[in-house]
């Protein structure tokens, strides 16, 4: 009986763990392995090449430009989304009549795919007939090129990503706000704290865990932004929106250079591991 019981959990686990092992863990390792192979032009076979792919991408200005665009994008989009999400979560946490309706409406972008968002916003931001320019026209402001300009394209992508991102991350922060016991805030009030003081001294410290999680999850999600790029700018104009995951797709699938693509993905894996490692470090033992 006892020995039979010992087998059961393993039986229950087998399907899920085998699938995860084969389709998730193995490809992770394979990314690292693949980055050390090149496709031989002569024989069409994969040949071990050591660090040649890495040397190649590290000498490649397009890779560096793509990394630079990704870093600039991340430095803007993540603080922006988190600040706005925090603001939104505080607003929808207010106990006011009709707040439930607002919460439902803000859930709409969360349910809609990034593709639909990108398609709709691409048309809204059209430089000739888009509605955003139509509204600017009514306000007496001249037409803007948005996705067609090297200065505005990345900002347009930030807008598209944030239309989903802000409502999504505000759900996490809202859940964090609702976990704060009301007596804690009442105690602060009794002690004479004004709204701002109780927010910075009580609420924010209690949100530390949630905010740290959102910061990391948001950073990783934006680091891997893909759909809005392929559906709007395809990296342009002049590579100004050529975010890194799109660059790996361009290399691997459009140009068939899987070695370079895998080398870039390995660099990205390393970056993601560092970000996640920092998360685990920050959140360690703070239960």
């Amino acid at each position: 009986m006892r020995s039979k019981q010992q087998i059961i959990p393993y039986l229950l686990l087998t399907p899920a763990l085998v699938l995860l092992l084969v389709f998730n863990l193995l490809p992770t390792i394979a990314t690292l392995v693949e980055s050390t192979f090149v496709m031989s032009l002569r024989s069409g076979e994969r040949v071990f090449a050591g660090f040649a792919n890495f040397e190649r991408i590290f000498k490649d200005p397009i890779f560096w430009k793509s990394l630079q665009v990704t870093v600039v994008f991340s430095l803007v989009v993540n603080p922006l989304q988190i600040a706005l999400s925090l603001g939104l979560s505080i607003l929808i946490n207010q106990r006011l009549p009709g707040i439930g309706i607002f919460r439902s409406i803000y859930l709409l972008p969360v349910a809609v795919s990034l593709n639909v968002t990108a398609i709709v916003w691409r048309l809204l931001l059209d430089k000739n007939t888009g509605m955003v320019n139509g509204i600017l026209y009514q306000l007496g402001i001249e037409r803007q090129p948005f996705l067609h300009s090297t200065e505005q394209a990345l900002w347009s992508i930030i807008l598209i990503a944030s239309w989903i991102g802000v409502p999504l991350w505000s759900l996490f922060i809202l859940a964090g706000l609702q976990n704060i016991p009301p007596p804690v805030l009442e105690a602060a009030k009794i002690d004479g704290a004004n709204a701002w003081q109780s927010f910075t001294k009580v609420t924010l410290p209690l949100l530390r865990r949630v905010l740290a999680f959102v910061l990391v999850a948001d950073t990783v999600a934006n680091f891997l932004l893909f759909a809005p790029i392929i559906l709007t700018t395809q990296g342009g104009p002049q590579l100004s929106t050529n975010l890194i995951l799109y660059e790996t797709y361009r290399r691997g699938f459009l140009y068939g250079d899987l070695g370079a693509s895998a080398a870039m993905l390995s660099v990205m894996l390393l970056i993601v591991f560092v970000i996640v490692g920092v998360e685990l470090y920050v959140l360690r033992g703070s239960d």
């Binding site: 059961i8 229950l12 998730n24 006011l96 026209y137 409502p167 990205m268």
Partner: protein
């Protein structure tokens, strides 16, 4: 609105500030709502508009842009005549199989992690579930593509479906829920000689509605909205899913805006209709792991 506020202020002798704050909150919320709703309203209205009039009221902007004033079903008719129904059917099929097969696989694993003590439990959990949870699937798509190619699964249902069945986020959800079921409930059934399968089916499942709904929604919607993987692994037309079909339409018939928007609205309405009645479950499902 403001007159209403001031008259009540006088009557109740409450400080004006007590009304200013809610007014400010509502104003900001309404600005946000406009940013959320106007794009969707325009897209919906435009999908019911003849193609040559799609941008008519958008530039210069008038309120007519947000309502289907020149109502027609032309875009939807043409879209389905072109075979969009097939993509909708494919996506529903994939989503349902993912929910039922993937859901069972993940629930069994969650049950094992949540209810059993066994050797290597933590090691397995950390090494496989945590690690795969932390590495985003899009990052490993290319080697997964090569693997699927080696299996001969490019342009097949298996290739679309099987890699997404096991989902570490869903295993987390189940584990968390099952771990909180009172031990007495399970012990009672075990004493009666019920097998673990019986316990799972007749004791655990009936009380697991919240986690089943949450996990089901999560799996259905992530399959419905998935794009990168189907784009890579199944470009063949008969296997196309909704998200791929609408994304290809961007380049393909670039000027048929109303059809593009009609496809997008169909892609959007399904998850919206699923999420709205089950908001609480869905929010718990997506925020659950972040707060653990």
């Amino acid at each position: 609105m403001s007159a209403h506020v001031t008259s009540r202020t006088r009557r109740n002798r409450k400080p004006l500030r007590a009304y200013l704050l809610p007014a400010l909150v509502y104003s900001l919320l309404i600005i946000g709502v406009l940013i959320v709703v106007i794009p969707l309203m325009w897209a919906l209205a435009a999908s019911f508009t003849p193609n040559h009039k799609v941008f008519e009221y958008a530039y210069p902007f008038s309120w007519r842009a947000l309502l289907p004033v020149d109502f027609t079903l032309e875009a939807y008719d043409n879209l389905f005549a072109r075979g969009f129904g097939r993509a909708v059917g494919n996506t529903f099929f994939l989503a349902f199989v993912t929910v039922f097969v993937g859901g069972s696989v993940n629930a069994l694993a969650g049950f094992a992690f949540g209810r059993f003590e066994f050797r290597g439990k933590n090691a397995l959990f950390m090494a496989i579930v945590m690690l795969t949870f932390l590495v985003p699937v899009d990052l490993t798509a290319i080697p997964r593509y090569i693997l699927i190619n080696n299996f001969g699964w490019i342009n097949t249902w298996q290739g679309l479906l099987i890699p997404g069945l096991a989902n570490s986020l869903v295993i987390f959800l189940f584990r968390q829920f099952f771990a909180e079921i009172p031990q007495e409930l399970i012990d009672a059934a075990r004493v009666d000689g019920a097998s673990w399968l019986r316990v799972l089916v007749s004791i655990v499942l009936p009380i697991s509605k919240p986690v089943l709904v949450a996990a089901g929604l999560l799996m259905f919607i992530s399959q419905w909205n998935s794009y990168f993987w189907p784009l890579l692994v199944a470009p063949r037309q008969e296997l196309r899913v909704v998200q791929v079909e609408i994304s290809l339409a961007v380049g393909q018939y670039g000027t048929v805006w109303n059809e593009l928007l009609a496809g997008s609205m169909i892609a959007a309405i399904v998850p919206i209709l699923l999420v709205m009645p089950f908001q609480r479950y869905y929010v718990q499902a997506i925020t659950g792991t972040g707060l653990e």
